[in-house]
Symmetry: C5
Subunit: 307 residues, 5 copies
């Protein structure tokens, strides 16, 4: 047990030894074990965007076993997926990589202005499949957000009683926000803070832009000269908004990007005090050898063995 | 236990021996026992379309016992129906054919743009009636789809705890889709994938057309040159979308067709790696001797004893 | 136990001896005991239409005991009413007539295009009051129909576990149907079939007209030359639609009519193979001696002692 | 135990000895003990209209203890109030006056065309506070009425299992009715009947006007010459509508009136066979000595010691 | 145990010794211990307004431990916050300050005309974290208010069974009210009364203005010459409306103000018989030494050691 992991665990004083055990499994697995940094492989895009859009660029990824193998071989801290994908490999790869069961999902066969998600997994499912934690998406800004908060609150209570780690994907979206506002720095910090207040152990947000969406926030950011000019500064602000670094907050990569762009983002996350990345499409939509190399580079940046 | 059945069962590593037992009952019953192929008789059209439209063409079919007899005599792998129809024969034909209780149904006495279904059976009903599994319909594309996903998720968990097989009928429909889009290849593959992610053991979809509905999907299908020109290719794509062949996916026949058309479709399903057919109206809307001959031909195509 | 009752009971192979016992109590009570025919007295009009409209024409009927006495003296097979009316006489008349507790009701203090009903009784209430069964109304054609189906499905499961008989009043109504369509032969047969699929032991519908409402049904009725010209033929078609005579289906009388019209209808029900009548307003809205004479005539027609 | 109370209790043959015990406590308490008549003090106006409007005219009434004292000193049969008011005195005045806990309430900080109420108390609360019964308001005529009926049905079942008396306040209101229709004689009788059918032991309605709201009712009232010209006749009709006198029905006073008007109404209730009054604002919005004198006069009219 | 605390506890005669124990912990903690006055530190603004707007003016306040320390050092009676903030310090500061878990919260990433809140904590969470009580916000005037009342009623019953104190934040808001009406004296008194009727032990409202919102209330206030001209008179009226001083009612400070304005308000609360203040933004949005001085002054005013 490294000092850094011990320090992170010490921030979760209200959690049971069971939950701390699972949280330390996440932090102590894979290439970044013990560093306090995380890289998680999430594969819910088949559900969220459709199987063709997700897996046709790299057909072996249609097979659910592929993602277990990718996460294991790349030395990811964990693999997160919906029920079906986890059921399809949990026995075969039991004990080889920490698993996070996504408890809700959404498809795009209907476009909604104010999206919500379906409950697609349960805490009991997560226990049955040997997961270390559960994941849940909220959409701050949607008219359905309050119902989503209530759902995850109840599920989080159940998960904690079962010693599981609670991961919240906080994605601002819906009629309360402009398109640009979905990744605005004030909105991202707010969304991350809500997730922390809802009792998340790990929070996942998108990398924020320098845009400030809400007038009342803009006034304060300007008065107080909150530094949000660089990506590293914005990451630092989000870390601050998640209990001043006392909650693990990680950042998602979004659509496929040029590698160097991703690496620059990872450096900003590292420099801003972020805890890591959750990288889906950039990982599994390329051939495995390339994906492994790509993920290894990211982990080296986090580990500090690469600038 | 044939090698092929053993191989199929091996894909369901997260399921209990109880569920595998019922799944093997399905796979090892009737004319296609052991082949890994299935032909299921579904009779919910009385509820879904009305008794006159369904049974007037072959009046003995008004009697619920008729369908048990038809499934048994034809050597179908299973008979699937709503509560009332199963209650009306489950004792008389106990043990003679695997039964699947449909847990939800819908009627057409009201036309809705965004349909949903009523819960018309329970897992406890299925246990009471000696069923091997339960069936549930979802309508991806409907505004009610997320609620339907949540329902089947909860019912599937309960069914799996009871050792039952979960079959999902995935029928794209609703305001998210054009009429043509309901059977588009991208939408069908997506709908099949959602059912798999929701934890279905067996997935039933309609045979897809070559139409691609969603622009974002179209782009990828074209970029990656996904072959969807022939029906067999489209079946193969759907099989890929259901965990690359690691979930049983079967195809429905739709409205009454000329026999040769159906046989051609069955050959395409076979050649594309599909697991079988679920054939209602084409079976019970004709005289029984003709239906038996018709089903026997289909089974021979699947068994490979007929080209 | 007559041969006919034994034959009817044999159609309910999935029901417990408890439910069969209560079903046989219904069939073996009163003037028509053992004939397989039923006449049931229903008195929910106080709730459904208001007490003045219902009972002012025969003021003794304001007293809940009146209806118990009427059902007993007339030799009806059962008396069906909402909670309050049954509570007000169940002790005094315990064991003198089989009781059916209506589990839902509706008033007309608000007119709705798409009606639904309130839950006004429970299975536990029915047990407490010594009932042989429970009644439930569905409105096929209403936007609320699917919710109603789900409700009765759950209540029916509970009732069957308690050994009670499930009676479904299936009244097509709502924005899916024209006014004429509410009693159309295709719609009535469909509504009766839905009730049977939902697990009803006894189904109650209105006498159908020769009108055919739905185009898709009309096409089949004409192609197959389904005979629906006479009332007896239409009754026969409804019997067919309720599992080909393997479910008890009875018919309601509707608003007060000239006696001879009602007797003609009863002859049609008898000749068409219907199982009997449920007659409210025509019974209790006249002086008791006249009501007894009226009901006796109907029973004699069913018993075959009167043409 | 007087003959009259024994007679009233005999109407509740389906209730447990526990409930009859509590009902007899109501009937045998206070100045009217044993007469079969009741005067109940209800104080929910703080919630329903606001504290200023309710208590400023007589400021001691802001204190929840005031109403216990008033009910005790005046010899009322019971005191009915929401949770907070009962909690604030139930220990201090334990055993001194039968209590009825109102289970739902509504405020006027928002005007709705179709009102409903919030659940503000539970059967367990009533048990904890030593109540003899529970009260519940329904709004026949509102689009929410069916949900309200379903709620009280469930709560009444629970209350009866706990041996409590069920009191239903039936106040027609909502988009199904004209303003005048809310107190129309046909609507009042209908609303009282619905409450009785829902299983109420005691029903509370407003004094009806001679207006007849519904065309279908008007036709019958005229055909049958139902006498509704005088207030006493209208009370008699409502008594008839509540199971012909076999359910306790009491009448509310409404807004503050000149005393002589109220006394005239009480005489009409008495002469029409009503069971009593529930009098809030006319009691507690005046100085206590005047209130006691006022209530004493009413009780003397009911007791027959005053014309 | 001072006489005043004993007196306050005596108003809660229906509560368990467990709840009284927790209530006395609140009253006997900190600088105001035993005085019957309370100053509570609430920190939910991160959730309600966003972390930047809340904590950027005093960045140490991003750290959840800061608020525990502030409440402890200032000698507040209690610290109230959402789940995440309490979880992040409850172990470290166990037993050092009474905690109140807010059970519901709301964000401003979407503006609604008729707001409601998400359930973000449970009674079981409060027990787990060692809290003395739970807090819940209602919005009288919103179309969602009745649902909110029903929620807190159920949660309050559960909390009382667990011996917890129930605090209701009653904030008039929504389409039933004008902007000015949200703090009108009649509306504030009404909102406070509703909270008391819902069973709150402690009620929190905003300081009311002299505006009277509702016409029906205005008429009575004028007729009865209810004194509401000064702030102290308005506080007195609110105290009257909360069971004439038999429920603890405290007042919030609102947005940051000049200190002298706040002190004047505190004097008015004291002089009007209010029980204390709940002060968030004015406390934590300044440097800690200044906050401690500020809070100490307020407590001295309440304690009477400062005019």
């Amino acid at each position: 047990m490294t000092e850094r992991v011990r320090e992170i665990l010490s921030c979760y004083g209200s959690d049971s030894p069971g939950t701390l055990t699972n949280l330390s499994r996440l932090l102590n697995h894979g290439s970044l074990a013990g560093t306090g940094k995380l890289v998680i492989l999430p594969v819910d895009q088949g559900f969220e965007h459709g199987p063709g859009r997700s897996f046709a660029p790299n057909p072996p990824a249609y097979d659910p076993r592929y993602h277990f193998e990718l996460a294991i071989e790349a030395g990811c801290n964990a693999y997160a997926a919906p029920l079906g994908f986890l059921e399809a490999g949990a026995r075969e790869f039991a004990g080889q990589v920490p698993l996070i069961l996504k408890l809700n999902d959404h498809d795009v066969l209907l476009e909604e202005k104010d999206p919500t998600q379906a409950l697609t997994g349960s805490v009991r499912d997560a226990i049955r499949l040997g997961c270390v934690g559960v994941g849940f998406t909220i959409y701050p800004g949607s008219v359905h957000r309050l119902e989503m908060y209530s759902q995850i609150r109840a599920l989080a209570e159940e998960a904690k009683q079962a010693g599981l780690v609670v991961v919240i994907w906080s994605y601002p979206r819906g009629s309360g926000l402009s398109k640009e506002g979905e990744t605005a720095i004030d909105v991202t910090a707010y969304a991350a803070h809500i997730a922390a207040q809802l009792g998340a152990h790990i929070i996942k947000v998108k990398l924020p832009s320098a845009h400030i969406e809400q007038a009342a926030a803009k006034k304060v950011y300007e008065q107080q000269s909150v530094p949000v000019g660089t990506l590293a500064e914005r990451v630092r602000h989000v870390v601050q908004a998640t209990f001043n670094g006392r909650r693990v907050v990680i950042f998602s990569g979004g659509a496929t990007e040029r590698d160097e762009v991703v690496f620059e983002e990872v450096r900003a996350i590292r420099d801003g005090g972020g805890f890591g990345s959750i990288i889906g499409r950039n990982s599994f939509q390329r051939k495995k050898p390339e994906a492994l190399k790509f993920l290894r580079t990211i982990m080296e940046i986090y580990a500090g063995t690469l600038k």
